[in-house]
Amino acid sequence: MDQVAKVSRSRTELQMARSMCWHCQSEVAGEYFCEQCVKVQPLSKDQDYFTCLGLPRLLTIDTNALENKFYEMSRSFHPDFYQTKTDIERTISLGNSALLNTAYRTLKDPVQRAEYLVRLEAGSVKEIRNHPPADLFEEILSLQDDLEEFRAASSQPSADLTQLQAKLQSDRETLEQRQREMESRLFDLFETWDRVQIQAQPTESIRSKKESVLKEMRELLSNRTYVRNIVNDLVATVG
């Protein structure tokens, strides 16, 4: 845990470049309120959601602590408390609240959190596009053909749909199972990522491990999206 705290601190220091209070020009370093004039300060648009919520860039998150932090920050920035303030302060309150809400919504959900992290780290991975899952595409196209057939047949009152319906329902179950497997593999990778991420001195082997974890996560995430879409179509059409 100590190691995590260390990473967290050094990252925060790094990202919180010193700047000036918009109101009294005294130095501020990431505080929400200027120490001199107590005016609210804008959260930097450049900071990522982890930094915004005071978290290290790790995937295992204590959701209770996250929620508490979110409520605490919300209380500092909520537009309701700025109704009688100046235009600038009202604008800052709105901007900060919007950023905070998006950050919280993104990090709260584990899949969105992983998608966000992969996007953040994309610059450090050489190969931007993973090779398309040709087999999965074929499977999806063939299922879509079946769905089309099902839709066409269900508009005819005399058609016997039982067989096709049973097939599609069992396909749906198989795919849902696969989606669950992908998610559980994804969550396993959370631990791997955190383990390499907290290494203080990144060696070559750690860097390549990070790359391979990111790649696998990206592949899982995109395949999961394809599977989820076809599952949704199956549910909507066949039930």
């Binding site: 993973n130 398309p132 899952p133 040709a134 595409f137 074929e138 999806i140 196209l141 879509q144 990206r218 995430l221 995109s222 999206t225 394809y226 989820r228 879409n229 076809i230 179509d233």
Partner: protein, 131 residues
């Protein structure tokens, strides 16, 4: 956000929807996907004497993705293989008036064209080596 009239038109009356048999002579097939939204697009061309005589698509995704591929098949017909390779996603964006959040749909269509052309060329090259 509203779709442009042209997108709605392609969505309601998609041109050239359907497919050819993959094994058919002169047919090139491109299947691509957008990992962000999970759209899947299949685009096929039928080539005779280096000229694209027919094109078909099947797209499972949003209206913009369907419109982009529908438009792409319209543009492909009558073009030579070389000309087809020059179709740019920016032309699709312009024609369909796609907003920034939908630009990736036009990229997907361009990728599908490229994949179909590559598949066609690969099949042709394979034929030559057999001869």
């Amino acid at each position: 956000m509203a779709y442009s009239e042209k997108v709605v038109d392609h969505f309601n009356n998609p041109r050239n929807m359907g497919s050819f048999k993959k094994e058919e002579d002169g047919v090139g097939t491109g299947i691509v996907g957008a990992p962000e939204c999970g759209d899947v697009m299949k685009l096929q061309i039928k080539v005779q004497n280096d000229m694209i005589v027919d094109a078909k698509f099947k797209t499972f995704g949003c209206g913009s993705a369907i419109a982009s591929s529908s438009l792409a098949t319209e543009w492909l017909k009558g073009k030579t293989v070389e000309e087809a390779g020059k179709i740019k996603n920016t032309e699709i964006v312009q024609e369909l008036n796609l907003p920034p959040v939908k630009i990736h749909c036009s990229v997907l269509a361009e990728d599908a064209i490229k994949a179909a052309l590559a598949d066609y060329k690969k099949k042709e090259d394979g034929k030559e080596t057999i001869k």
